[in-house]
Symmetry: C2
Subunit: 767 residues, 2 copies
């Protein structure tokens, strides 16, 4: 696989020249999605080279049976997998009887992929000399509609250059697909009906076990010389159906196959209506037409960019990086459905099962809060509220009681579906991130209603968990938390991970405060929740005792909180003093060596300093940053962004910039040599935070937005917009000054570098 082959461009991701080595990487990088479905950038026509086929429907998963070496009590029965869904993009093409396959063409030139992020369209074009010596020019445009999100569109143009030719297009649907990543080589899909109706075809299939019913559909038409060619039904098997279009084409003229396709699923429609809804969707898009739908696509993306774009001047790679990150986040999750969430690979691959991790609460929510309507972040919070019963059930399986809730580390439907004991059972800090997101949501949006309506119950379940999870150490006369794994997964089963203990204490105190607030402000909700949860004052007193007597490992010598008990027993050799040949340690070292080393995979103590920065002085931060960062290997995609923000806060802009670059171009430049498997979606929100919170210094302080803008030396200017409580503020930063512009109708006061600044509608303020 190659790295660094993507051409820099402000708005587009571009690959030029055909290299088989790039195919799988480009299939990831050029992925398209619309929140409801997504697909890797596989070729429509046959490709006999190495490829990783993937088309995914949001929320459609399969419970692959857990397979582990040695079973531990409490393991989940299954590991939920995002499913490779039936293929609707395929078009087999024959030119004078010869199958078009660029892996076997005599020559391929001018090969170009372009993902136009501004418009949400993916274009691929090439010249080829086929094995039967036909010279052709191919231009394919594809997009997944934001307007009608169950439909995608393909325009496949062929111009024959050197002679007349007989062309056959066979657009098809195929449900005989497999997953790259499965435990048991099970078949996932059961096809129940395959049908053709004029220029349309349908495959009805359901997933095994989970019984998600789907109708995969397509409609195709061929245009040549202003006339529309009629297709006929072609091949039809148990899990395959195709239409056939034949056309004699004159040299230098162009033929265009237009294909609409997509899925209707029982997540959104009644089972017996799937095919009818598919018909309706096809009729709707037929009426709009390819160009009409494309126009709507551009408009929809323009609206997204209008709010979420970040412009960077003077650094084209940084510009391309941040836009790629924002684009992918929007392709993955648009906030229209509270049963969906943000999988770490989005719709770009299968790894991590397409499931929900704590990434959403810790990294993604700030992005969605600032660039979308409040309702979007609220939907993400509601997702966890909807899973509360399952979180309680999950905790019960592990021996907790009385409504204690442990949210899963990895989930599709609220059930735990990860099976390493050191993660599943012990990486319990995820519970804290879910509580923190509630706080963060209210802090940013000012919308308190979520807490009495839903959040309070979540907080009670979480506080109950922490209360039961600690025990009183007689030796320390403090509450301790034994056997946990912190965010730094290069430590397992440690005692008193500072971050987890701190979160636990914070969660309890926050819950107690919210109980008081809800009691006085929303008495009906309070009584409903207390009645439902059977919470008593006595229980709250016990929580309080735990929070007040929580143990925090601390080193007087270094003046720092210790990541966990015993951290100072390690051999404290800094990362810079390790030979280059030994890195990345997750590839070069055995697991036991990693575990007993001081090396930190991603921010751990510093994650706590990020969440709770108001609890610590800048000097505290500096001391902890200087202590921990030198031991941090940043071998998680979630690591550089937090460090970038903190380096910026400490005025270390060069270091902050380097961390920024690493996070923003992680996939484009394939830093970790694994982009073939899919993109790192959730860490992309961290990239956004690096600019807005890091360089822009944006915070919410006492209900007001606050900024401390800085700019990397490498940049001339950068600008971003944030939606803060229905006021849109545009910020433009240069080395000399920062301008603020309020877009809206009502003034707002913000703080800039500690000073109050009043913004009035559409007035440009320079600071």
């Amino acid at each position: 696989m190659n790295q660094n082959y993507i051409k820099p461009d402000k708005w587009c991701i571009i690959e030029e020249g055909f290299d088989k080595e790039n195919v799988k990487s480009s299939e990831s990088i050029f992925s398209i999605g619309n929140g409801a479905m997504g697909q890797r950038a596989n070729f429509e026509e046959t490709y006999s080279g190495d490829t990783f086929q993937g088309s995914y429907i949001a929320g459609v998963y399969y419970p692959d049976k857990t397979r582990v070496g040695w079973w531990k009590n409490g393991y989940p029965e299954y590991f939920a997998k995002v499913l490779n869904a039936p293929n609707w993009i395929g078009i087999n093409i024959k030119i004078n009887g010869e199958e078009l396959d660029i892996a076997t063409c005599k020559k391929v030139s001018n090969f170009r992929r372009e993902l136009n992020m501004k418009e949400g369209v993916y274009t691929r074009s090439f010249l080829a000399v086929t094995s039967n010596n036909m010279e052709i020019e191919v231009v394919v445009k594809r997009f997944l509609s934001l307007e009608i999100d169950e439909v995608g569109a393909i325009s496949y143009q062929i111009k024959v250059l050197n002679a007349n030719a007989s062309l056959v297009f066979e657009p098809y649907l195929d449900s005989g697909i497999t997953n790259e990543d499965s435990n048991w080589d099970d078949k996932f899909w059961n096809t129940t009906n395959v049908s053709v109706e004029e220029n349309r075809a349908f495959i009805e299939a359901h997933t095994m076990k989970t019984e998600f019913k789907t109708c995969t559909f397509m409609q195709a038409s061929l245009d040549y010389e202003g006339a529309t060619v009629v297709g006929v039904a072609s091949e039809k098997t148990d899990n395959f159906v195709s239409l056939k279009f034949e056309q004699e084409v004159e040299a230098n003229s162009t033929v265009t196959l237009t294909k609409f396709g997509g899925y209707t699923v029982t997540r959104n429609h009644p089972n017996d209506s799937l095919k009818q809804v598919a018909h309706n969707k096809l009729s709707e898009v037929s009426e709009i037409g390819f160009e009409g739908l494309l126009q709507k696509q551009k408009e929809a993306w323009a609206a997204i960019w209008e709010m979420s774009d970040i412009v960077i001047e003077g650094d084209i790679k940084a510009q391309q990086g941040i836009r790629f990150n924002i684009f992918q986040l929007n392709q993955t999750y648009l906030g229209t459905d509270s049963t969906l969430n943000i999988g770490p690979k989005g719709f770009t691959g299968e790894k991590y099962g397409g499931s929900t991790y704590w990434d959403t609460e810790a990294y993604c929510i700030p992005f969605y809060m600032a660039t979308k309507d409040d309702k979007v972040a609220r939907k993400l919070l509601k997702y966890r509220y909807n899973h509360l019963e399952k979180a309680i059930e999950n905790a019960r399986k592990l021996g907790f009681s009385n409504g204690a809730a442990l949210y899963p580390m990895v989930t599709m439907n609220g059930e735990e579906c990860h099976n390493e004991w050191e993660i599943t059972f012990e990486e319990i800090h995820r519970n804290g991130a879910i509580a923190f997101a509630i706080h963060n949501y209210f802090r940013y949006t000012g919308d308190y209603s979520y807490i009495p309506e839903m959040g309070l119950e979540v907080l009670i379940g979480i506080s109950r968990f922490w209360h039961q999870r600690v025990n009183l150490s007689k030796d320390k006369n403090k509450y301790v938390m034994l056997g946990v794994t912190g965010p730094n997964e290069y430590e397992n089963n440690v005692n008193n991970n500072w971050y987890t203990n701190y979160l636990a204490k914070w969660c309890i105190n926050y819950t107690l405060t919210q109980l008081d607030k809800v009691k006085s402000g929303y008495p009906d909700d309070y009584h409903r929740v207390v009645g439902k949860t059977k919470l008593t004052d006595r229980e709250c007193e016990k929580w309080k005792k735990v929070a007040n007597k929580m143990y925090f490992p601390y080193s007087k010598e270094y003046g720092v909180f210790l990541q966990q008990d015993g951290f100072l027993d390690k051999e404290l050799v800094k990362v810079d003093d390790l030979p280059k040949s030994e890195r990345p340690i997750n590839q070069k070292w055995s697991w036991d060596r990693i575990l007993r080393s001081p090396y930190i995979k991603q921010a751990d103590v510093l994650q706590g300093f990020y969440f709770f920065e108001e609890d610590f002085s800048t000097e505290d931060l500096e001391r902890h940053f200087d202590f921990y960062e030198p031991f941090t290997v940043h071998e998680s995609s979630l690591s550089p962004c937090v460090h970038s923000i903190q380096a910026a806060k400490l005025g270390r802009m060069e270091q902050a910039y380097n961390f920024y670059l690493r996070t923003s171009r992680l996939d484009l430049d394939d830093y970790n040599k694994e982009v073939e498997e899919g993109l790192h979606i959730t860490s992309m929100a961290g990239t956004w935070m690096s600019i807005v919170e890091g360089f822009g210094g944006m915070r919410v302080v006492n209900d007001k937005l606050s900024f401390k803008p800085q700019i990397p030396n490498q940049w001339n200017a950068y600008s971003f917009k944030v939606n803060f409580r229905n006021r849109i503020i545009k910020v433009n930063v240069t080395a000399d000054c920062t301008t603020f512009q309020l877009i809206g109708t009502k003034e707002v006061s913000i703080r800039v570098n500690g000073k109050k600044v009043e913004l009035f509608p559409d007035e440009l303020i320079t600071v």
Copy 2:
């Protein structure tokens, strides 16, 4: 499955009455073996009920591909599995055309299994009414010859009771067998040749990957009314061959099929000779005949019992228990082959892969030293010497260098083949047990030669490992050992497990002492070993520093060494205060709850007090026993024996007796409800230790045997023999006195209750 259905008897294991629920348990309990092969007590004739078929050849294994949820660097590629070998015991029987199958008989009565441990013969008998109303009496005898250990013999007698009948016997060989326990459903055996020669048949097959070539063979003859019936070749397929004997039998007369069978393997013979050797073996046993071979079997077992029997008077269940343990140990390993070892399930099942664990060094060696010739224990030590290079390779894979050796946790051929990181990478105390066994061997046998010849190299590799595995904690100014798992596997990835640290220090000091001794006493060996290992004085100085500055967690409050750092932070609720419904915790609790609990699976600190008791006073032992035993759940078969010995030492005979019963009848009474899977062979040696070291108080002190005999209230007397440096001492203990008898030609002085006692040949001394 049923528990407690085995009839008490001094010399036999007896089951009476047919219960399908018992079949798999009895297949384990009635297993037979001769050190070279072994088999579960499967029926010879067809059985359509639930059964677990197993026939195993010592040292023949298959590298099943490792399958784990998430791969960790350093995991072995495969998990070695003991292989279910081709079946040679099978005999299909037809009575008037109807297949004999007691699962479908109209009536089965007088069903009886008897494993005669004195003679090494397994007998099964029953009366049955077949579905075609034939009444028959069946008596089957089977044994695996100790005399010719590649052969077993079966005598299958049928008496037809109610009418004349037409009987067909089809003795067969079958290599179309599978393993119950496999990761990938792979086929393990590849059959290359199937042949019949007169009354003999052969299947040549080899294992996949490991390429162990085998010839499975049989010979059969039928006797009726004094005449021998001639068999004919019958069915023959790619992996099956049978002979056929037809006989018209009159009512009330008996027909007997005699079958000899077994395996020749390339572990012992050249590949091209396997079939010829099989012929030779069959000719040899034909000449001796079934009865002759049975006579030799009785003599061979008599010789084993002569040396190893323990007689208990007044407690028939205890008597049966200890003999069952001694019998099974001898069935598993006889000390004839230094490439073999003692798998935790012997030849009785597949679990734990039939591989070698630290059980051998920690538990089995004392038994073999005292009840066999010295050479046997020496073979077990040599086994590890032969694997030294692979142990060095194993350590290298984990990042160690300079010849540091980490012996595998589980192995067949010296390579690690277990794949839980917390065990494979961290349960490194196994290295210490291997060094301790060298010390124990010399201490008991007085044979120093192993150390200069082989042991010293092993000790150097192990000391190098410990030296590299610790690091200097600047915080403690001591050497610490981070990230280990002690013998108590209910703790994972702990820091400074006292037992492991103590072993490491001891290993280094012991190695340094042996280096001095070899240097002065065996200078040639010294120079050879130092040359080979490139050991320098400087390296030894570094080791010494580690040993001298090793850290040991200690509690001043309790006056005890702590199992590991932070042990006192746990919620110290004693096992007796746990509700009965929550035990065994390994079935009732989630893994995370077990890990953060104080509960101890098997002796950990107390294992150190067992190995190194001379380093501690009885008061020390008492304090540690009283501190740790109440937290010990004994959920490992290796736990009760150590506690029994220590309870006896502390004069707590009632407790010692209870621990003894638990260990000695673990399988017979199926304490853990898992005997179906096979027997707990290695812990059986612990049972022997409970009597000899526990009740008998036997130790080696300054080159002399020492005893402090006690007797449980439940017993009238017990006696055992030990071979100590080629002198056999018989000890008989009653409540009133102990008698000692020296069998041999040269006097010896022993110590009894601290006083010197001289023993003279064949003179009975009463103390």
